[in-house]
Protein backbone atom coordinates (compact mmCIF):
# COMPACT_ATOMS: atom_id res chain seq x y z
CA UNK A 1 0.00 0.00 0.00
CA UNK A 2 2.81 2.36 0.79
CA UNK A 3 2.93 4.45 -2.34
CA UNK A 4 5.47 7.16 -2.96
CA UNK A 5 4.96 10.86 -3.61
CA UNK A 6 5.76 10.47 -7.32
CA UNK A 7 3.39 7.56 -7.80
CA UNK A 8 0.51 9.49 -6.28
CA UNK A 9 1.37 12.52 -8.40
CA UNK A 10 1.74 10.67 -11.69
CA UNK A 11 -1.50 8.73 -11.39
CA UNK A 12 -3.48 11.99 -11.70
CA UNK A 13 -1.85 12.77 -15.03
CA UNK A 14 -3.00 9.70 -16.94
CA UNK A 15 -4.33 6.76 -14.96
CA UNK A 16 -6.88 8.84 -13.04
CA UNK A 17 -6.97 12.07 -15.09
CA UNK A 18 -10.21 13.60 -13.84
CA UNK A 19 -12.56 14.41 -16.73
CA UNK A 20 -11.44 11.50 -18.90
CA UNK A 21 -10.72 8.61 -16.55
CA UNK A 22 -12.70 9.42 -13.41
CA UNK A 23 -15.28 11.31 -15.52
CA UNK A 24 -15.72 13.78 -12.69
CA UNK A 25 -15.99 17.55 -12.74
CA UNK A 26 -17.73 17.65 -16.11
CA UNK A 27 -19.69 20.83 -15.42
CA UNK A 28 -16.69 23.20 -15.53
CA UNK A 29 -15.05 20.98 -18.15
CA UNK A 30 -17.91 21.63 -20.55
CA UNK A 31 -18.69 25.14 -19.39
CA UNK A 32 -15.43 27.07 -19.43
CA UNK A 33 -13.33 25.43 -22.12
CA UNK A 34 -14.29 27.79 -24.91
CA UNK A 35 -10.71 29.03 -24.99
CA UNK A 36 -7.48 27.47 -23.81
CA UNK A 37 -6.77 30.37 -21.46
CA UNK A 38 -10.07 29.93 -19.64
CA UNK A 39 -9.54 26.19 -19.38
CA UNK A 40 -6.10 26.55 -17.85
CA UNK A 41 -7.26 29.34 -15.52
CA UNK A 42 -10.09 27.19 -14.25
CA UNK A 43 -7.75 24.21 -13.90
CA UNK A 44 -5.25 26.19 -11.85
CA UNK A 45 -7.96 27.61 -9.59
CA UNK A 46 -9.26 24.09 -8.96
CA UNK A 47 -5.72 22.82 -8.34
CA UNK A 48 -5.16 25.49 -5.71
CA UNK A 49 -8.38 24.59 -3.91
CA UNK A 50 -7.64 20.89 -4.23
CA UNK A 51 -4.13 21.08 -2.79
CA UNK A 52 -5.06 23.44 0.05
CA UNK A 53 -8.14 21.49 1.08
CA UNK A 54 -6.26 18.19 0.83
CA UNK A 55 -3.53 19.52 3.12
CA UNK A 56 -5.97 20.78 5.74
CA UNK A 57 -8.21 17.73 5.62
CA UNK A 58 -5.26 15.36 5.87
CA UNK A 59 -3.93 17.37 8.81
CA UNK A 60 -7.26 17.31 10.60
CA UNK A 61 -8.30 13.80 9.58
CA UNK A 62 -8.01 12.40 13.11
CA UNK A 63 -9.81 15.37 14.67
CA UNK A 64 -12.84 15.49 12.40
CA UNK A 65 -15.70 13.35 13.80
CA UNK A 66 -16.81 10.87 11.09
CA UNK A 67 -20.48 11.83 11.40
CA UNK A 68 -19.95 15.45 10.42
CA UNK A 69 -16.99 14.94 8.10
CA UNK A 70 -18.80 16.05 4.95
CA UNK A 71 -19.87 19.29 6.62
CA UNK A 72 -16.29 19.90 7.74
CA UNK A 73 -14.95 19.17 4.25
CA UNK A 74 -17.43 21.59 2.70
CA UNK A 75 -16.46 24.37 5.13
CA UNK A 76 -12.78 23.87 4.33
CA UNK A 77 -13.35 23.66 0.57
CA UNK A 78 -15.71 26.64 0.52
CA UNK A 79 -13.19 28.73 2.44
CA UNK A 80 -10.48 28.10 -0.11
CA UNK A 81 -12.86 28.69 -3.00
CA UNK A 82 -13.69 32.13 -1.66
CA UNK A 83 -9.98 32.76 -1.18
CA UNK A 84 -9.47 31.97 -4.88
CA UNK A 85 -12.44 34.10 -5.86
CA UNK A 86 -11.16 37.13 -3.95
CA UNK A 87 -7.61 36.72 -5.24
CA UNK A 88 -8.83 36.37 -8.81
CA UNK A 89 -10.94 39.50 -8.48
CA UNK A 90 -7.97 41.34 -7.08
CA UNK A 91 -5.33 40.25 -9.57
CA UNK A 92 -6.80 38.65 -12.70
CA UNK A 93 -10.12 40.42 -13.11
CA UNK A 94 -10.71 39.63 -16.83
CA UNK A 95 -10.26 35.92 -16.12
CA UNK A 96 -12.67 36.23 -13.21
CA UNK A 97 -15.25 37.77 -15.53
CA UNK A 98 -14.71 35.04 -18.13
CA UNK A 99 -15.07 32.18 -15.66
CA UNK A 100 -17.97 33.84 -13.87
CA UNK A 101 -20.16 31.52 -11.85
CA UNK A 102 -17.84 28.54 -12.34
CA UNK A 103 -15.41 29.83 -9.72
CA UNK A 104 -17.89 29.71 -6.80
CA UNK A 105 -19.11 26.40 -8.22
CA UNK A 106 -15.73 24.78 -7.43
CA UNK A 107 -17.29 24.25 -3.98
CA UNK A 108 -19.56 21.58 -5.39
CA UNK A 109 -17.00 20.19 -7.82
CA UNK A 110 -17.06 16.46 -7.17
CA UNK A 111 -13.33 16.15 -7.83
CA UNK A 112 -12.48 18.28 -4.82
CA UNK A 113 -14.96 16.63 -2.46
CA UNK A 114 -14.17 13.25 -3.98
CA UNK A 115 -10.45 13.54 -3.29
CA UNK A 116 -11.15 14.81 0.22
CA UNK A 117 -13.41 11.85 1.00
CA UNK A 118 -11.56 9.15 -0.92
CA UNK A 119 -7.97 10.18 -0.35
CA UNK A 120 -7.09 13.03 2.01
CA UNK A 121 -9.22 11.75 4.90
CA UNK A 122 -7.30 8.46 4.86
CA UNK A 123 -3.72 9.48 4.02
CA UNK A 124 -0.99 11.66 5.47
CA UNK A 125 -0.26 15.25 4.44
CA UNK A 126 2.62 14.54 2.05
CA UNK A 127 0.71 11.95 0.04
CA UNK A 128 -2.37 14.19 0.03
CA UNK A 129 -0.36 17.04 -1.44
CA UNK A 130 0.90 14.68 -4.17
CA UNK A 131 -2.63 13.49 -4.85
CA UNK A 132 -4.03 17.02 -4.96
CA UNK A 133 -1.25 18.26 -7.23
CA UNK A 134 -1.49 15.27 -9.55
CA UNK A 135 -5.24 15.38 -9.94
CA UNK A 136 -5.16 19.18 -10.21
CA UNK A 137 -2.47 19.24 -12.88
CA UNK A 138 -4.28 16.47 -14.73
CA UNK A 139 -7.49 18.47 -14.60
CA UNK A 140 -5.65 21.56 -15.83
CA UNK A 141 -4.06 19.65 -18.72
CA UNK A 142 -7.40 18.11 -19.68
CA UNK A 143 -9.17 21.47 -19.60
CA UNK A 144 -6.31 23.10 -21.46
CA UNK A 145 -6.35 20.44 -24.18
CA UNK A 146 -10.12 20.58 -24.58
CA UNK A 147 -10.00 24.38 -24.54
CA UNK A 148 -7.25 24.43 -27.18
CA UNK A 149 -9.19 22.04 -29.42
CA UNK A 150 -12.41 24.03 -29.14
CA UNK A 151 -10.62 27.35 -29.57
CA UNK A 152 -8.67 26.24 -32.65
CA UNK A 153 -11.61 24.62 -34.41
CA UNK A 154 -14.35 26.91 -33.15
CA UNK A 155 -12.77 30.33 -33.54
CA UNK A 156 -9.61 29.59 -35.52
CA UNK A 157 -7.34 31.09 -32.85
CA UNK A 158 -4.81 29.73 -30.40
CA UNK A 159 -4.20 31.72 -27.21
CA UNK A 160 -5.88 34.64 -28.99
CA UNK A 161 -3.63 34.50 -32.07
CA UNK A 162 -5.00 33.51 -35.46
CA UNK A 163 -3.96 30.04 -36.65
CA UNK A 164 -5.39 29.50 -40.10
CA UNK A 165 -5.48 33.09 -41.32
CA UNK A 166 -8.49 35.21 -42.23
CA UNK A 167 -9.83 32.80 -44.88
CA UNK A 168 -10.79 30.26 -42.18
CA UNK A 169 -14.51 30.04 -41.53
CA UNK A 170 -14.92 29.32 -37.77
CA UNK A 171 -16.81 26.14 -36.99
CA UNK A 172 -18.77 27.82 -34.22
CA UNK A 173 -20.78 24.73 -33.26
CA UNK A 174 -17.75 23.57 -31.29
CA UNK A 175 -17.98 26.63 -29.05
CA UNK A 176 -21.57 25.89 -28.05
CA UNK A 177 -22.52 23.56 -25.18
CA UNK A 178 -23.56 20.63 -27.42
CA UNK A 179 -20.25 21.02 -29.25
CA UNK A 180 -18.50 20.68 -25.90
CA UNK A 181 -20.11 17.28 -25.40
CA UNK A 182 -19.03 16.14 -28.86
CA UNK A 183 -15.43 17.28 -28.27
CA UNK A 184 -15.33 15.62 -24.87
CA UNK A 185 -16.70 12.41 -26.38
CA UNK A 186 -14.07 12.44 -29.11
CA UNK A 187 -11.28 12.99 -26.60
CA UNK A 188 -12.61 10.19 -24.38
CA UNK A 189 -12.66 7.96 -27.43
CA UNK A 190 -9.04 8.77 -28.29
CA UNK A 191 -7.97 8.24 -24.66
CA UNK A 192 -9.68 4.83 -24.60
CA UNK A 193 -8.12 3.82 -27.92
CA UNK A 194 -4.68 4.73 -26.64
CA UNK A 195 -5.29 3.03 -23.32
CA UNK A 196 -6.60 -0.22 -24.76
CA UNK A 197 -3.41 -1.02 -26.66
Amino acid sequence: MAKTFTQEFVKGLWEEIPPFRLVLGLCPTLGVTTTMKNGIGMGLATTFVLVCSNILIAALRNLIPPKVRIACFIIIIATFVIVVELLMQAYTYPLFLALGVFIPLIVVNCIVLGRAEAFASKNNIVLSIADGLGIGVGFTLALGALGALREIVGTGTFMGASVFGPSYEPFSFVITAPGAFVCLGLMLCIMNLLGSK
Binding site: I75, A78, L86, L87, A90
Partner: protein
Protein backbone atom coordinates in the same frame (compact mmCIF):
# COMPACT_ATOMS: atom_id res chain seq x y z
CA UNK B 1 -22.88 12.89 24.55
CA UNK B 2 -19.11 13.32 24.30
CA UNK B 3 -19.22 12.66 20.62
CA UNK B 4 -21.87 15.28 20.12
CA UNK B 5 -19.89 17.90 22.01
CA UNK B 6 -16.88 17.06 19.88
CA UNK B 7 -18.89 17.48 16.70
CA UNK B 8 -20.23 20.86 17.80
CA UNK B 9 -16.81 22.06 18.92
CA UNK B 10 -15.03 20.96 15.74
CA UNK B 11 -17.62 22.53 13.45
CA UNK B 12 -17.71 25.75 15.47
CA UNK B 13 -13.95 26.14 15.56
CA UNK B 14 -13.67 25.37 11.87
CA UNK B 15 -16.39 27.86 10.91
CA UNK B 16 -15.00 30.57 13.15
CA UNK B 17 -11.52 30.10 11.74
CA UNK B 18 -12.83 30.15 8.18
CA UNK B 19 -14.90 33.27 8.85
CA UNK B 20 -11.95 35.07 10.39
CA UNK B 21 -9.63 34.17 7.54
CA UNK B 22 -12.09 35.29 4.87
CA UNK B 23 -12.95 38.53 6.64
CA UNK B 24 -9.26 39.34 6.87
CA UNK B 25 -8.63 38.52 3.24
CA UNK B 26 -11.67 40.47 2.12
CA UNK B 27 -10.59 43.64 3.81
CA UNK B 28 -7.01 43.29 2.62
CA UNK B 29 -7.99 42.79 -1.02
CA UNK B 30 -10.84 45.33 -1.08
CA UNK B 31 -8.73 48.23 -2.38
CA UNK B 32 -7.12 46.11 -5.09
CA UNK B 33 -10.48 44.71 -6.21
CA UNK B 34 -11.89 48.23 -6.46
CA UNK B 35 -8.98 49.22 -8.69
CA UNK B 36 -9.52 46.22 -10.95
CA UNK B 37 -13.23 46.95 -11.21
CA UNK B 38 -12.49 50.54 -12.12
CA UNK B 39 -10.16 49.38 -14.82
CA UNK B 40 -12.20 46.60 -16.37
CA UNK B 41 -15.87 47.35 -15.64
CA UNK B 42 -16.20 51.10 -15.32
CA UNK B 43 -13.06 51.89 -17.29
CA UNK B 44 -14.40 51.18 -20.79
CA UNK B 45 -17.61 53.14 -20.14
CA UNK B 46 -15.71 56.09 -18.69
CA UNK B 47 -13.26 56.16 -21.59
CA UNK B 48 -16.10 56.09 -24.09
CA UNK B 49 -18.02 58.90 -22.43
CA UNK B 50 -15.00 61.10 -21.91
CA UNK B 51 -13.53 60.31 -25.31
CA UNK B 52 -10.92 62.80 -26.38
CA UNK B 53 -10.12 63.96 -22.87
CA UNK B 54 -6.51 65.02 -22.50
CA UNK B 55 -6.07 63.41 -19.07
CA UNK B 56 -6.62 59.93 -17.64
CA UNK B 57 -10.09 60.12 -16.09
CA UNK B 58 -9.56 56.98 -14.02
CA UNK B 59 -6.49 58.41 -12.33
CA UNK B 60 -8.03 61.88 -11.89
CA UNK B 61 -10.93 61.02 -9.63
CA UNK B 62 -12.35 62.32 -6.39
CA UNK B 63 -14.98 61.20 -3.94
CA UNK B 64 -17.90 63.12 -2.45
CA UNK B 65 -20.10 61.82 0.35
CA UNK B 66 -23.79 61.87 -0.44
CA UNK B 67 -25.56 60.92 2.77
CA UNK B 68 -24.14 57.55 3.69
CA UNK B 69 -22.79 56.54 0.30
CA UNK B 70 -19.61 57.77 -1.29
CA UNK B 71 -19.70 58.55 -5.00
CA UNK B 72 -16.61 58.55 -7.19
CA UNK B 73 -16.37 61.27 -9.81
CA UNK B 74 -14.09 60.90 -12.80
CA UNK B 75 -12.73 64.10 -14.27
CA UNK B 76 -12.40 64.72 -17.97
CA UNK B 77 -10.24 67.58 -19.24
CA UNK B 78 -11.11 69.10 -22.58
CA UNK B 79 -9.07 71.96 -24.09
CA UNK B 80 -7.06 72.08 -20.88
CA UNK B 81 -10.10 72.76 -18.73
CA UNK B 82 -11.59 70.25 -16.30
CA UNK B 83 -15.25 70.92 -16.91
CA UNK B 84 -16.79 67.47 -17.20
CA UNK B 85 -17.31 64.68 -14.71
CA UNK B 86 -18.59 61.14 -15.04
CA UNK B 87 -20.14 59.20 -12.17
CA UNK B 88 -22.14 56.06 -11.67
CA UNK B 89 -25.78 55.79 -10.75
CA UNK B 90 -28.15 52.85 -10.42
CA UNK B 91 -31.64 51.89 -11.58
CA UNK B 92 -33.75 48.85 -10.86
CA UNK B 93 -33.81 46.67 -13.97
CA UNK B 94 -35.49 43.41 -14.87
CA UNK B 95 -32.79 41.24 -13.33
CA UNK B 96 -31.39 43.51 -10.64
CA UNK B 97 -29.56 46.80 -10.42
CA UNK B 98 -28.27 48.39 -13.59
CA UNK B 99 -25.20 50.57 -13.23
CA UNK B 100 -25.07 53.60 -15.49
CA UNK B 101 -22.06 55.82 -15.94
CA UNK B 102 -23.22 59.36 -16.69
CA UNK B 103 -20.99 62.11 -18.03
CA UNK B 104 -22.04 65.72 -17.40
CA UNK B 105 -20.70 69.01 -18.63
CA UNK B 106 -20.78 71.49 -15.77
CA UNK B 107 -20.95 74.45 -18.12
CA UNK B 108 -24.46 73.69 -19.41
CA UNK B 109 -25.66 70.85 -17.13
CA UNK B 110 -26.12 68.64 -20.18
CA UNK B 111 -25.29 64.96 -20.48
CA UNK B 112 -22.31 64.33 -22.73
CA UNK B 113 -22.79 60.58 -22.79
CA UNK B 114 -23.90 57.53 -20.83
CA UNK B 115 -22.78 53.91 -20.73
CA UNK B 116 -24.06 50.85 -18.90
CA UNK B 117 -21.43 49.35 -16.58
CA UNK B 118 -22.99 46.43 -14.73
CA UNK B 119 -26.28 44.66 -15.33
CA UNK B 120 -27.95 41.26 -15.13
CA UNK B 121 -30.49 41.76 -17.92
CA UNK B 122 -31.64 39.12 -20.38
CA UNK B 123 -29.11 38.55 -23.17
CA UNK B 124 -30.51 39.73 -26.49
CA UNK B 125 -33.21 41.87 -24.89
CA UNK B 126 -32.31 44.04 -21.94
CA UNK B 127 -28.61 43.37 -22.33
CA UNK B 128 -28.72 45.42 -25.52
CA UNK B 129 -28.76 48.51 -23.31
CA UNK B 130 -25.05 47.93 -22.92
CA UNK B 131 -24.31 46.96 -26.50
CA UNK B 132 -26.64 49.15 -28.55
CA UNK B 133 -24.94 52.49 -29.05
CA UNK B 134 -28.09 53.87 -30.70
CA UNK B 135 -29.97 53.55 -27.43
CA UNK B 136 -27.40 55.17 -25.17
CA UNK B 137 -26.58 57.92 -27.66
CA UNK B 138 -30.14 59.26 -27.20
CA UNK B 139 -29.12 60.56 -23.80
CA UNK B 140 -26.49 62.84 -25.29
CA UNK B 141 -27.39 66.49 -24.83
CA UNK B 142 -30.34 65.89 -22.50
CA UNK B 143 -30.56 68.23 -19.55
CA UNK B 144 -29.76 66.98 -16.07
CA UNK B 145 -32.30 69.44 -14.59
CA UNK B 146 -35.43 67.53 -15.68
CA UNK B 147 -36.28 63.85 -15.16
CA UNK B 148 -35.44 61.62 -18.12
CA UNK B 149 -38.19 59.30 -19.36
CA UNK B 150 -38.94 56.91 -22.21
CA UNK B 151 -41.37 58.06 -24.91
CA UNK B 152 -44.27 55.97 -23.59
CA UNK B 153 -43.97 57.82 -20.28
CA UNK B 154 -43.89 61.17 -22.06
CA UNK B 155 -40.13 61.48 -22.32
CA UNK B 156 -37.66 61.73 -25.17
CA UNK B 157 -35.92 58.37 -25.08
CA UNK B 158 -37.04 55.61 -27.45
CA UNK B 159 -37.16 52.39 -25.43
CA UNK B 160 -35.39 49.26 -26.62
CA UNK B 161 -38.03 47.06 -28.24
CA UNK B 162 -38.95 44.20 -25.92
CA UNK B 163 -37.03 45.70 -23.03
CA UNK B 164 -39.21 48.46 -21.61
CA UNK B 165 -38.34 47.67 -18.00
CA UNK B 166 -34.64 47.87 -18.77
CA UNK B 167 -35.08 51.10 -20.72
CA UNK B 168 -37.07 52.61 -17.86
CA UNK B 169 -34.39 51.52 -15.40
CA UNK B 170 -31.68 53.21 -17.46
CA UNK B 171 -33.78 56.38 -17.60
CA UNK B 172 -34.40 56.16 -13.86
CA UNK B 173 -30.67 55.80 -13.26
CA UNK B 174 -30.03 58.86 -15.45
CA UNK B 175 -32.74 60.88 -13.64
CA UNK B 176 -31.30 59.79 -10.33
CA UNK B 177 -27.88 60.91 -11.49
CA UNK B 178 -29.52 64.26 -12.32
CA UNK B 179 -30.84 64.63 -8.78
CA UNK B 180 -27.48 63.73 -7.27
CA UNK B 181 -25.80 66.15 -9.64
CA UNK B 182 -28.11 69.04 -8.72
CA UNK B 183 -27.49 68.40 -5.06
CA UNK B 184 -23.75 68.06 -5.27
CA UNK B 185 -22.98 70.56 -8.02
CA UNK B 186 -21.39 73.18 -5.74
CA UNK B 187 -19.13 70.53 -4.23
CA UNK B 188 -18.26 69.12 -7.65
CA UNK B 189 -17.36 72.57 -8.96
CA UNK B 190 -15.25 73.17 -5.88
CA UNK B 191 -13.34 69.92 -6.38
CA UNK B 192 -12.85 70.57 -10.10
CA UNK B 193 -10.99 73.79 -9.33
CA UNK B 194 -8.19 71.67 -7.92
CA UNK B 195 -7.80 69.95 -11.28
CA UNK B 196 -7.72 73.26 -13.13
CA UNK B 197 -4.63 74.48 -11.38
Amino acid sequence: MREMIKMVVVLTVLSAFSGGLLAGLRSSTAAQIENQKLQFVKGPAIKEILEGASNDPIADRFKIKDGKTEISFFVGKFDGKASTVAFESFGKGFGGDIGLMVGVNLADDAIIGVGVTTHSETPGLGARAKEDAKFTSQFKGLSMAVPIKVTTDGGKVNALSGATITSRAVCAAASDAGKTYQQLKPQIAEKLKEFNK
